[in-house]
Symmetry: C2
Subunit: 313 residues, 2 copies
């Protein structure tokens, strides 16, 4: 099993897009800086969508520019299309993720585009990236969302998933992510789909999972992913988040609980739990008081005698 | 991986002992009957402890006698000592579990007995069982509690755990259970301790796990247990429960979420989710309104297109 895992914090994107309250630029940066200070090395700081769709993320360009000043931080963003990617490249994001919902019904609902249209967007983004000097090219991920099932279509056939993964790879994505948008995933399915997609695009192209805890299986699904040598897990501080366009689908896995599990298992995350608790306090302060934050480890605290996989300084 | 799992509902014992409100005999039986009707085949219905210690469980003898009338149900009880076991045998319990806290500090706090005294209790219970006609002898489990760490002592040395497992086996326990009393367990540790204890008492003697969800890792720990061929998991409807003598240690894993996970993975539990929801409603009604019930699947519902491992009639 892999002994070093990257946790990609998605709260500033996936979390904030699902709540009505709009954080200020300074509040977002205070949160991002606190997580980076805790040792988080990759943060999805926003999404380049029209401000009228998600006003919560309207300042993503500025968040990217400011976050780039944090040493060692990979600044990731979501881009629903080529127009968003152009803005992301201009702002200097290190990683771009385009979501392709394997449920076409959800794709139309979420980004108002068919599968063919989304693949074409991915192609255009790859072309834009190829025009950049080598050292300025961001990492480009195609994320298969609703891949564990859709609240509108139910289960998606393996053949359709495999075909879309191949098309994303052919469109120039460096990496194919698997995203449990709806919180439907179970550990057996996690293993199955990782193997299915790797069978099409290669093992090295499938390294990340985006999981939700909607039905409580989030960390069990992480364990299944670990056993398949997944090396990056998305999570959200306080479990903030969900998909506003998939009814009933809420709750990213909780960064705090994920860090506790991995470290307790002897798997290094480089992240300090107390530092995360400071970031959680900053987030708590920035949100409306009635906004729930999730997580068990923050409530219960670390076990007596807890030790990190690698000693913290 | 095992394809049929027994879920042992411990809410009427572990759940009720941790809340102040006392359910009536009829309320308990309505709950137990509803779970049995949902397909639960083993229920820990109470504990033979002095009524002044746990008045919530004072009617355990009568609960056992009435529960025995439910066809096909294994009626399990906790017995802290030989005196409790005598009462359990008289009532006709099918399964007796004696908890031996591997943390002696916790043992003294919980049952006011040293390790040596507890092993002697187990010996006396075995002797009582041996006097019964073969067909009346209950299954006798010795459960290693706080085996994943203690809120008072921290981590317990492997050698101490192995020694106590061996002593319980030598005292006549048919089975050695592992119990995460404090919610400290992580999946790597689950695997390690199952292997450690099996190395001493044999694989066939270690078949069950009692897990809590205190730090959110409950179902991930179940997955680790499944991969080690564990066949029985304790859980509690609505996650009711915890240990009143281990500060901060609360929350059994949730029966509803456990059933969802296993069935979604294609592992048969024989339990109907809708039936569990009916039992949950009965429990909800019996508890004080402010008493929290846990569980993600009950809130989110089953995924669109969900299918049981084996079709329900």
């Amino acid at each position: 099993m892999t002994k070093r895992i990257t946790i990609s914090e998605v709260g500033p994107r996936d979390g904030l897009q699902s709540i009505a309250h709009i954080l200020t630029l300074e509040q977002k940066l205070a949160w991002i800086e606190a997580e980076a200070a805790a040792g988080v090395t990759e943060i999805e700081v926003g999404s380049f969508v029209p401000a009228k769709v998600l006003p919560q993320l309207a300042d993503t360009g500025e968040v990217v520019r400011r976050s780039r000043e944090i040493p060692g931080l990979t600044v990731a963003v979501l881009v629903p299309n080529a127009k968003g990617a152009a803005a992301a490249l201009e702002a200097g994001a290190h990683k771009l993720t385009i979501p392709l919902s394997v449920s076409e019904t959800h794709s139309l609902r979420n980004v108002r585009r068919t599968h063919a249209q989304m693949i074409e967007e991915a192609r255009q983004i790859s072309a834009m990236i190829a025009e950049l000097p080598q050292e300025q090219r961001p990492h480009f991920e195609g994320s298969l969302s609703t891949v564990f099932g859709c609240t509108l279509e139910g289960a998606i056939p393996d053949a359709q998933i495999a075909r879309l993964a191949e098309q994303l790879r052919d469109a120039g994505c460096h990496e194919i992510g698997l995203s449990d948008t709806t919180g439907y995933a179970n550990p057996a399915q996690v293993r199955h789909l990782i193997r299915l997609v790797r069978g099409v695009v290669g093992k090295e192209a499938v390294t990340g999972l985006h999981l939700h805890n909607t039905r409580g299986l989030g960390l069990a699904n992480v364990l299944a992913g670990l056993e398949e040598d997944i090396t990056t897990f998305d999570s959200s501080l306080g479990g903030l988040g969900g998909c506003p366009f998939a009814p009933g689908a809420s709750g990213n896995i909780v960064t705090e609980d994920l860090v506790f599990m991995l470290e307790a298992m002897g798997i290094d995350t480089g992240i300090d739990f107390e530092g995360l608790m400071k970031a959680r306090a900053i987030l708590r302060e920035a949100l409306n008081p009635e906004e729930p934050l999730y997580g068990f480890a923050p409530e219960a605290g670390l076990p007596l005698g807890f030790a990190y996989a690698e000693a913290r300084v």
